[in-house]
């Protein structure tokens, strides 16, 4: 039987086991929406802005191991989605974004709601397709899901012109897919893995530096086993939080610009560094030449060869899927007669504990004014460290990363690479839909939340009981902090004037709002919010406007050139 392109599109999503599509209808996708209407297997979530559709699909993907799916119309539908796509691309999140396009005969005529979607999205997708023939829809979508999920994951866009979605052809969903030009390598070279094992066994000051690749590869268990076997300290990047349990003694917490003192000094002073699914980016190692000024051997495991020796020269590169490579490395180490150098490790830990003694995350709590760190610590305590936490971008993001000690992977959902304000709330929608009944907190600021505030309406429609933890300091805090440190206290346009009454705003959308102004009310408010299992609660915490994020390695500086809270 012949099916239309639109029917085929939906059948493909069904075949892929897609649970949710996040989207917004429009002219070019009307046939696809018509087919969505006629079935129940694939559920559609109507967002209020296409950027949110992609972030929601992204949050869904990050908190599960599945591909997120978004559906948008041509023209402005696509351009609104671009920020979401770029966010997912920077953090290697598997998404399939389906976009409508004007009919093929109109393409290139500056038709109504026409943009060059493939051209606009090309630099921020893993791959994209324009489907010009209805007979290609099924094979293209098959490829799209395969590309999104395999190798280094990423967003894949499929642009379908309106007439193609209307034309008919026979449908059969391909059982397998093979792309001759695309052959990701799952297993690492065993010779290199043995070299890595030898280096790690001989190390006097080993250090494990684990990134988002551990989360994406579902390799937290293998990483934890390896770190314990080596007896080495482990630090996680912003993207890798939860890849190794933060409450464990061997965890040094997050590293980088706002990383702990012990993590950054450990990175700088180790003699063998094992980098796992991380990419030595500027926010992580700071100044490259400062980092390179100390000799150390580097082992780098990554699925993407282009991530290896990009910013930092590597001694033992291992290209492969993190979970596979770590499993192989573990079996090589387990079968070796040699054991890690216990005496050297003891010395190393003595040094690390000394750095730890600096207590770089300490802050001065107050009875008068709410400290943002205190809110996050309380959030951690009352959710037993078990909530899914999404965040926006800025100071609140760093405090959430520093003070919510993630012990499990896929619990921490944030825009690391692109740093997209407005990510937190829509991402939380995707997380909550993927985990109904779970505690989901969106840690945000009064600046970020306003970038996708309209999604409160979506949350109402789909009854998503997200807890919005807004650290409202009336400043674009991270901008303000940089202006204080580096721009002579000239707070150029970082003050949030004319803020809405967030409690009333939440109520206007049909939710619950709570204003919290006193430190003594923080715990009670959070408890009340999480006790309201069926309600979205907007917690407006009025926090200290002068609080800064410490420690801080200023941009362009080296990891040991850190500013601690006590320095000021």
């Amino acid at each position: 039987m012949e099916l239309t392109g639109a029917e085929i599109t939906i059948r493909c999503l069904q075949e892929e086991g897609v649970e949710y599509v996040f989207g917004y209808p429009g002219g070019a996708v009307l046939f696809i929406y018509d087919e969505l209407f006629k079935q129940e297997q694939v559920k559609h979530v109507l967002v209020r802005h296409e950027q949110a559709a992609v972030h929601a699909a992204d949050g869904y993907a990050r908190s599960t191991d599945k591909v997120g799916v978004a559906l948008v119309t041509s023209g402005p539908g696509v351009t609104n989605a671009v920020t979401g796509i770029a966010t997912a691309y920077m953090d290697s999140i598997p998404l399939v974004v389906i976009s409508g396009q004007v009919p093929t005969s109109y393409i290139g005529e500056d038709a109504f709601q026409e943009v060059d979607t493939v051209g606009i999205t090309r630099p921020c997708v893993k791959h994209n397709f324009l489907v010009k023939d209805v007979r290609d829809i099924a094979s293209t979508l098959k490829k799209a899901f395969y590309l999104a999920k395999s190798g280094r994951p990423g967003p894949v866009l499929v642009d379908i012109p309106k007439d193609v979605s209307q034309q008919k052809t026979e449908f059969s969903y391909p059982a397998t897919v093979s792309i001759r030009s695309y052959t990701p390598q799952a297993h690492g070279d065993i010779g290199q893995i043995k070299r890595a094992a030898q280096l790690l066994l001989e190390a006097k000051r080993p250090m494990v530096y684990a990134g988002g690749g551990v989360i994406l590869s579902d390799a937290a268990r293998q990483l934890t086993d390896l770190v314990r076997l080596l007896g080495a300290p482990c630090t996680n990047t912003l993207m890798g939080l939860g890849g190794y349990p933060a409450s464990d003694r061997q965890s040094l917490g997050m590293l980088g610009m706002h990383g702990t003192y012990e993590a950054n000094l450990g990175m700088q002073n180790c003699d063998v560094l094992l980098a796992v699914g991380a990419r030595f980016d500027d926010r992580v190692i700071g100044n490259v030449s400062h980092f390179n000024s100390v000799p150390r051997k580097i082992i780098h495991i990554d699925i993407d060869p282009a991530s290896i020796s990009k910013r930092v020269k590597v001694d033992v590169p291992i290209v492969g899927d993190v979970a596979h490579v770590l499993a192989d490395l573990l079996s090589v180490l387990n079968s070796s007669k040699q054991k890690p150098d216990a005496a050297a490790l003891k010395e190393w830990w003595k040094q690390i504990d000394e750095w730890r003694g600096a207590n770089s995350l300490a802050y001065k709590n107050s009875n008068e004014i709410i400290k943002p760190q205190f809110v996050i610590e309380t959030l951690h305590r009352i959710t037993h460290g078990d909530a899914f936490v999404t965040s926006d971008v800025g100071q609140h993001q760093m405090w959430a990363a520093q003070y919510y000690k993630f012990d499990q992977p896929r619990r921490w959902v944030n825009s690391g690479g692109l740093g997209t304000m407005g990510f937190g709330l829509p991402a939380a929608m995707g997380v909550q839909l993927a985990h109904p009944g779970a505690a989901v907190a969106c840690v945000t600021g009064e600046g970020s939340i306003q970038m996708n505030i309209q999604e409160l309406s979506t949350c109402k429609q789909y009854k998503l009981p997200i807890k919005i933890v807004a650290l409202n300091n009336r400043y674009l805090g991270m901008v303000r902090q940089w202006q204080e440190f580096f721009h002579g206290n000239r707070y150029s346009h970082s003050y949030m004037d004319a803020l809405p009454d967030f409690v009333k705003l939440a109520e206007a959308y049909g939710h619950v709002g709570i204003l919290v102004e006193k430190p003594s009310d923080v715990e009670g408010a959070l408890k009340e919010a999480f006790a309201r299992k069926d309600d979205l609660v907007f917690l407006d915490f009025r926090t200290d406007p002068t609080e800064n994020v410490y420690p801080m390695v200023p941009g362009g500086k080296g990891l040991s050139e850190v500013i601690l809270a006590e320095d000021l």
């Binding site: 630099p123 791959h127 001759r180 030009s181 695309y182 993407d304």
Partner: protein
Amino acid sequence: MRHIISLLMENEAGALSRVAGLFSARGYNIESLTVAPTEDPTMSRMTIVTSGSDEVIEQINKQLNKLVDVVTVMDLTDGDHIERELMLVKVRAVGDDREELKRMTDIFRGRVIDVSDKTYTIELTGTGHKLDRFLQAIDHDLILETVRTGASGIGRGERILKL
């Protein structure tokens, strides 16, 4: 250092823009880029002449390999190879210059492929360096138009780039 990178890619709409976009997005140099389908109509062969430090060239190779449409990549300058470029030059050819230009074309083993009362069009093939030398060898004021294809390259002997 100058490198000649040769690659095979899917002969699909937009494949060229992915390569060109990669170079501009990451700030890599392109001296020249040529592309045309191969004997297998599903595949195109591209030659890119670029320059950069060893680290940059390594990244270029890796980033090209990462493009889904790119089937295989070879840095021709890593081994023995042949490089050729085609140039068409239209020159003003009147009076004594007519003889001189013909003579110079012969010395460079070029051919005059179009003639009018006042012009010659000269075809010349060789390395980019040879073509540069030809342009230097003739009177600059006589050059009306220059069209160059950019280098195409191929490995010597058994050095073969294929699927």
